[in-house]
């Protein structure tokens, strides 16, 4: 058998393994079949390990054959030839294995595998054990599809899967309203960023006539490609992609969702918001980095956004009182720096930074539930309490400024409050006014009260998610 054929089979398997896991777990849940915890654990192990081995095998073959790009084309998923105009529609199923996707796929499999094994024990006899693993499989599939996507449409499909699974996992403990509210907030931010990505995809289609990354970014393997867009088009498309990345990676001004996401179970917090999901925006910027090169303004915006996010998160992290939120902001600080590195054109540095940071943060988050135990051990070992020494800036910065910064950090930069005040509340107010006007109109037409639904009473006091 020829090597390209073997690579293609392995590449398909890399995507098929989590897809099969999702199909099995999802369909059995839909049919109401209750798989035992052991069966779920074994299936998850099998899918993750075999997918990881296939990815490593591809890496080995690429190194052995000195090949830097392995494109795997599975043909047209949808094709609409248009005889009347130049606008054909093609949805190509294409995966690429290159210096960016292979490390990301291996990272995803390693971290998901670790967290899968951890979650099997952590969620033992939890009522939502099966539901967690369905969402876990959806997340894994989304991550793998996004990582190896060869077209922007395929990337979008994976991107959406990651978003949905993340939002539902934030709301995992769904018998309480708070996780559910936070899940909806995460989903709302993701939908906004997904919309930006979709518009960028359509704009790229119009600018270049295709959504294939090889066509968009030049034929050279990553990171050598050169995009063929005008600086103006690059600024527009790149701006949209930056919004998409900012939403997914919780960059300013979307950072408010990251601490909210810590409502989910620790394994999902570790894998999604500490390690993989939060780096997905940076991954997108790396994938489209040839577009960033075309516009100095765009590159400057990426650097600025990264630095602002890093500064904001570094300040906010200092005052958090629970370990998961503190780690979330610490994670965001690093993500901000990674984004700045991408803006400066340091692509390999950014990639190495992502891999190292994701592994470290997963370890820290998985250790988070035992933090108090660790502290006790440490204090027992040194024979006394750990003391806090004031740092350099605490001694030098005047107290009013420190207090101001403290309040800023405690309120997490007022980002959530600003979004509520200037986006959610006006939106709800406008549409509630429209609703009242419609009521008046139908009451007038009906010649009396027209809404039976007004008499429907709420089951619990639920508050208002939207404002």
């Amino acid at each position: 058998m020829e090597w390209p054929r073997i690579e293609a089979m392995l590449g398909v398997y890399v995507v098929a393994a989590p897809a099969a896991l999702l199909a099995f777990l999802g369909l059995s849940a839909l049919f109401g079949a209750r798989g035992g915890e052991r069966l779920i654990a074994r299936l998850t192990q099998a899918a993750v390990v075999s997918g990881l081995l296939a990815a490593i095998a591809i890496l080995g073959l690429m190194l052995a054959r000195d090949v830097r790009l392995v494109p795997i084309e599975l043909g047209q998923w949808v094709a609409i030839p248009d005889l009347d105009s130049a606008h054909d529609f093609h949805f190509k199923l294409k995966f690429v294995f290159d210096r960016l996707s292979v490390p990301f796929v291996i990272l995803s499999y390693v971290l998901c595998g670790t967290v899968g094994a951890f979650a099997g024990v952590y969620l033992h006899r939890e009522p939502g054990h099966g539901r967690f693993f369905v969402l876990y499989a959806l997340f894994l599939l989304g991550m793998i599809v996004t990582s190896v996507a060869g077209t922007i449409e395929t990337l979008f499909a994976g991107w959406e899967m990651v978003g949905l699974s993340s939002a539902l996992l934030v709301a995992f403990f769904h018998e309480r309203p708070a996780p559910v509210r936070n899940g909806l907030r995460v989903w709302s931010v993701y939908r906004f960023s997904d919309a930006a990505l979709l518009i960028a995809a359509v704009a790229l289609h119009h600018a270049t006539g295709e959504g294939d990354f090889q066509g968009l970014m030049g034929s050279g393997p990553w990171p050598a490609g050169h995009a063929s867009l005008s600086p103006g088009a690059a600024l527009f498309v790149g701006g949209l992609l930056l919004i998409a990345a900012a939403g997914k990676s919780a960059l300013v001004p979307f950072s408010g969702w990251l601490p909210r996401a810590m409502e989910g179970p620790t394994p999902s917090s570790a894998i999604f918001y500490g390690a993989l999901s939060v780096h997905l925006g940076a991954f997108l910027l790396l994938r489209v980095s040839p577009i960033l090169e075309l516009s100095p303004w765009l590159s400057a915006a990426v650097v600025a956004l990264g630095l602002v996010t890093a500064l904001y998160a570094a300040i906010a992290a200092r005052v958090q009182t629970d370990i998961k939120t503190a780690l979330a902001f610490a994670s965001l600080t690093q993500v901000g720096i990674i984004v700045a590195e991408i803006g400066l054109g340091l692509r390999y540095v950014a990639l190495a930074h992502i891999i190292g940071h994701a592994c470290l943060r997963t370890l820290q988050l998985l250790r988070a539930p035992t933090l108090l135990h660790d502290y006790h051990q440490l204090e027992n070992a040194i024979g006394g309490r750990l003391t806090h020494q004031p740092g350099w800036w605490e001694r030098k910065v005047p107290e009013p400024i420190r207090l101001g910064l403290y309040r800023f950090a405690l309120e997490r930069g007022h980002l959530d409050a600003l979004l509520n005040e200037y986006v959610a509340r006006p939106f709800v107010a406008v549409f509630r006014t429209c609703d009242r006007l419609e009521r008046r109109w139908t009451d007038w037409l009906a010649g009396g009260e027209s809404r039976e639904s007004d008499r429907v009473s709420p089951p619990h006091e639920g508050g208002d998610d939207l404002a």
């Binding site: 049919f31 979008f156 119009h206 509630r432 009473s457 709420p458 089951p459």
Partner: protein, 488 residues
């Protein structure tokens, strides 16, 4: 014209009519439901057979083999073409699933015989291409819901006023248009009236309040069956698309786009489940119109794809809401119900159908939504982006409703609320269709592309046949030039 191998079309229309007469004689509602289900099943089988038969013929148009009605009326009354071929089984499937998933608690409220009458009228509408026939059948189709409202002593004025206006405007519009020389002022007025009538039937804002009113007062099943086949879009394709000038269609497209965003926003702020569903549906049906009025093959194909996906997914979504309502009563969205532990399958199905409607990857709506976005951006490069905004808002609305109904607390119930076998069958059948259509979209998209080609060909042919007077040509050229330069 090519003939089907059997009289599938007439049988598909006759079976529910006979069924309506048969079930009207049965007093026991549970027995009536079972009999009704048999007739709905026969109808579905005939509609599927018509579709398969038509598909095997590889013809653009076909009619029944013996065509009894043609002998009476002297022309092909019912025909099947690329547009209507999948719509017929879709409509029959919606009725079958709704009747199947009607619980005993609802059988006394839901009139099975009138449901079968509505099904016959709907299938006849979808099998009819003649403008007068479409207008008459659409007008007749508004009578069963009105009768239900009357019999339940509910307010009918809002619904009746809108439907009367729709019937009056389309009738007057077509009479003016067809009875006068093309390009004359009377014909142009006729086209305008026709478009206004069709827009009312489609529920385009601000003429959409009849739909919210119907969901307020009619039984959920009746309201669902009246709106989910989106016959307003059918009227648009048969009556408006062939005759309307490009600029008029683009203007209607913009109004539909505004409706899609407006209804998506309204869905987000609703405090009751039926109204939420109604706005969600309005937003999606407006997206279908946006696609249809793009006047390019991509957008038109997308509109037709979304039509099918919305029909399937939102019908499933509505059936789930109806199933929950039949257990708990009218559902408020102002608080958390926490029903997931009682009905996990219905919860999963609610989420799946909701996600399919917004075009989530791997579901039937994904490709259609992408095509509508592409088509809309081709026609309106800046405003077309509103399609994406509407889809984003709808996505938030769907998850908001899911969280409100299934999470956020623990519902206490002394009786089991889990899904019954018929509901599970309906849910799983629709799930299979939603996922199969999402994972293997090419056959469906190709079929819709052919239908789009035929619609565009009909439009070209009609305009060529009618010819354009010098005055109309000049006015059309000036208007189109104006809209090219300044936007509609």
């Amino acid at each position: 014209m090519t003939e089907l191998r059997f009289d599938w079309l007439e049988l598909a229309i006759l079976a529910p009519l006979l069924g309506a007469i048969w079930t009207a004689r049965i007093r026991d509602p549970d027995r009536a439901r079972r009999h009704c289900l048999v007739f709905a099943g026969i109808t579905l089988a005939c509609a599927v057979a018509a579709w398969l038969d038509f598909h095997a013929l590889h013809a653009p148009l076909a009619h029944d083999r013996w065509d009894a009605l043609a002998m009476v009326f002297g022309g092909e009354v019912f025909v099947i073409d690329e547009l209507s071929a999948p719509l017929l089984p879709l409509a029959a499937l919606l009725y079958f699933m709704t009747i199947l998933a009607t619980l005993r608690t609802k059988v006394r409220r839901f009139s099975f015989s009138w449901a079968l009458v509505s099904e016959a009228i709907l299938l006849a509408t979808l099998g009819c291409r003649a403008p007068w026939g479409v207008i008459a059948l659409l007008a007749i189709g508004t009578i069963p819901p009105w009768i239900e409202l009357r019999s339940r002593r509910k307010p009918t004025r809002v619904f009746a006023l809108h439907m009367a206006l729709f019937a009056g405007l389309t009738t007057a519009g077509w009479a003016l248009f067809a009875g006068n020389a093309p390009g004359s002022t009377a014909a142009l007025c006729g086209a305008g009236l026709l478009m206004a009538g069709v827009l009312i039937r489609c529920g385009v804002a601000p003429a959409h309040c009849w739909m919210t009113d119907l969901f307020e007062h009619a039984s959920f099943g009746t309201a669902l069956l009246f709106v989910t086949p989106i016959v307003g879009a059918y009227a648009t394709v048969r009556l408006v698309l062939p005759i309307a000038p490009d600029w008029a269609l683009r203007s209607i497209g913009l109004i539909s786009l505004a409706t899609a965003v407006y209804a998506a926003g309204m869905a987000l702020v609703q405090r009751e489940a039926r109204r939420f569903f109604c706005y969600l549906f309005l937003s999606h049906s407006a997206l279908v119109l946006v696609g249809l009025e793009c006047l390019n093959p991509i957008g038109l194909t997308g509109g037709l794809c979304v039509w099918l996906s919305v029909g399937l997914s939102l019908a499933g979504f509505g059936l789930t809401l109806r199933a929950i309502e039949s257990r708990t009563g009218r559902l408020s969205l102002a608080g958390y119900h926490g029903l997931y532990d009682h009905m996990p399958i219905l919860g999963a199905f609610f989420l799946l159908t909701g996600l399919a409607s917004i075009g989530f990857p791997g579901t039937i709506g994904f490709v259609g939504t992408e095509l509508v976005v592409e088509g809309a951006v081709q026609v309106h490069p800046h405003v077309g982006i509103a399609v994406v905004i509407a889809a984003a808002l709808n996505g938030i609305a769907v998850l908001h409703a899911f969280f409100r109904l299934f999470t956020g607390g623990r519902h206490v119930s002394s009786i089991p609320l889990r899904a019954r076998l018929p509901e599970r069958v309906a849910a799983l059948a629709l799930t299979a269709l939603i996922l199969a259509g999402g994972l293997f979209p090419q056959p469906g998209v190709s079929s819709r592309r052919r239908a789009a080609g035929e619609i565009m060909a009909a439009r070209r042919e009609w305009r060529g046949e009618r010819g354009m007077s010098r005055r109309e040509t000049a006015s059309a050229t000036i208007l189109e030039q104006f809209h090219t330069d300044h936007g509609p």
